[in-house]
């Protein structure tokens, strides 16, 4: 799925954002064509957003659908005239966080029920975890900051706008993520 969201320049992005705002307003009025155009337009952005949080493609597909359902049901909460993207990504972030909570709870339960008691005394694997595993261990906010800045290559300003926080707060999160990753991956200072 191509995503040109981060490749377009400032004015084009602004224009696209304005278009989405208008489409969303028409969707609130019950315009089905606007609904189709808007959902098609945001699809790649949502996919890209979710990829930074969910590694499993099957889970990603489920969460993608959940995001669209949530967006649809919360459409009355969009305030006409306000930027569309913060609203969209707040919903997507919430759905992804819900998924992460369910995923970790299920994984913990499966670990508890599947692991024979004697196995718990085994030595942990000595190989260091790869980046994906290490990212999974980070708090969602830090993982998001790292992914947007280092994996997606976004600028601080764009990533801050995407996450809905200030540039300073994003820097702090990213710094904490670097430190945590270094510790998890066994890097030296």
């Amino acid at each position: 799925m191509p995503d040109e969201t981060n490749k377009v320049d400032g004015p084009a992005r602004m224009e696209r954002s304005q278009l989405r705002m208008r489409l969303m307003r028409r969707m609130q009025d019950g315009d089905r064509d606007a609904c189709r155009v808007l959902l098609d337009d945001i699809g790649p952005s949502v996919t890209r957003f979710l990829r930074t949080r969910i590694a499993d493609p099957n889970a990603l597909e489920d969460v993608y659908q959940e995001v669209f359902m949530a967006l649809y049901e919360a459409r009355h909460t969009y305030e006409p005239g306000r930027p569309f993207e913060p609203w969209l990504f707040a919903i997507a972030r919430n759905v992804a966080a819900d998924h992460a909570r369910r995923h970790f709870a299920r994984a913990k339960w499966e670990q508890l029920t599947a692991e024979p008691p004697e196995l718990s005394h085994c030595d942990p694997p000595s190989a260091p975890p790869d980046l994906a595993d290490a990212l999974e261990q980070l708090p969602p906010a830090q993982r998001e900051a790292f992914s947007l800045l280092k994996l997606d290559g976004m600028s601080l300003e764009v990533a801050a706008a995407r996450t809905g926080i200030s540039v300073g707060a994003l820097k702090v999160r990213a710094h904490r993520a670097y430190r945590a990753l270094k510790k998890i991956l066994g890097g030296n200072d």
Binding site: M1, D29, C35, R36, D40, E61, A70, A74, H76, Y78
Partner: protein, 227 residues
């Protein structure tokens, strides 16, 4: 994603979009936070009107004291800020600003500081302390009840992303206003009475509201979708 998954994703996306579009109905956007806050404040004015006309407390004379007036204003101001946060918490992408949290903290500390400067009565029979106090605690809860339900309903109509925080803000807004109105209703200005029978119920209401928010306020889209 692989090519096979890519095709599958496109097909699923198309099916989902068509299903959503086919079932699309017009919706009325939520009123602006300012408008909803205004309506809620009208309810508070009604509560204040009732309290002012049903109190044995000579609050008009007390209002001449700047400290007493400031105490009421500080708690009412904190409540308004909490209500703004509660209403905004129901709109995705409208995060709480640090300045608002700081404002609440400063106002709350200032108000509590004023309560702490009230005199302590030493010759106070325990039975009287409890019986009078229980009545005040009950009234604090009663005065908070209708505004709490109204604000809860307003928040529930939206899509709160952090349910516990939304619940906490709803409870704090209703209870802090109730505290302010109880300062007008109750003639007792004794420090321990205010702390235990006025302020403690406020904290309890806010905590219970946060718990209720966790359980019942969270926005969850239906799994089956429309239609």
């Amino acid at each position: 994603m692989t090519d096979a998954q890519e095709i599958s994703h496109e097909e699923r996306h198309r099916a989902l979009v068509e299903r959503l579009a086919a079932n699309l109905k017009p919706v009325r956007p939520l009123w602006r936070v300012r408008a909803r806050l205004g309506l809620w404040l009208l309810l508070q004015v009604a509560v204040l009107g009732w309290v002012a006309s049903h109190t044995p407390n000579d609050f008009m004379r007390k209002l001449e004291s700047a400290r007493y007036l400031l105490e009421v204003v500080l708690f009412a101001g904190t409540a308004i800020l909490a209500a703004v946060i509660a209403l905004r918490s129901a709109i995705p992408g409208r995060p709480v600003r640090i300045g608002e949290l700081g404002g609440i903290l400063v106002l709350l500390l200032a108000g509590s500081g004023l309560v702490m400067t009230q005199p302590v009565r030493t010759a106070y029979p325990l039975s009287e302390f409890v019986s009078v106090g229980l009545g005040c605690a009950m009234w604090t809860c009663l005065l908070a009840a209708a505004p709490w339900f109204a604000l809860w309903w307003a928040v529930k109509r939206g899509a709160p992303m952090r349910a516990w925080a939304a619940g906490l803000a709803v409870g704090a807004a209703a209870a802090l206003f109730s505290f302010a109105w109880m300062r007008i209703r109750c003639p007792n200005d004794e420090r321990l009475h205010l702390l235990i029978w006025h302020l403690l119920p406020v904290l309890l209401i806010a905590a219970l509201s946060a718990l209720a928010g966790t359980l019942w306020l969270r926005f969850r889209p239906r799994a089956t979708g429309p239609g």
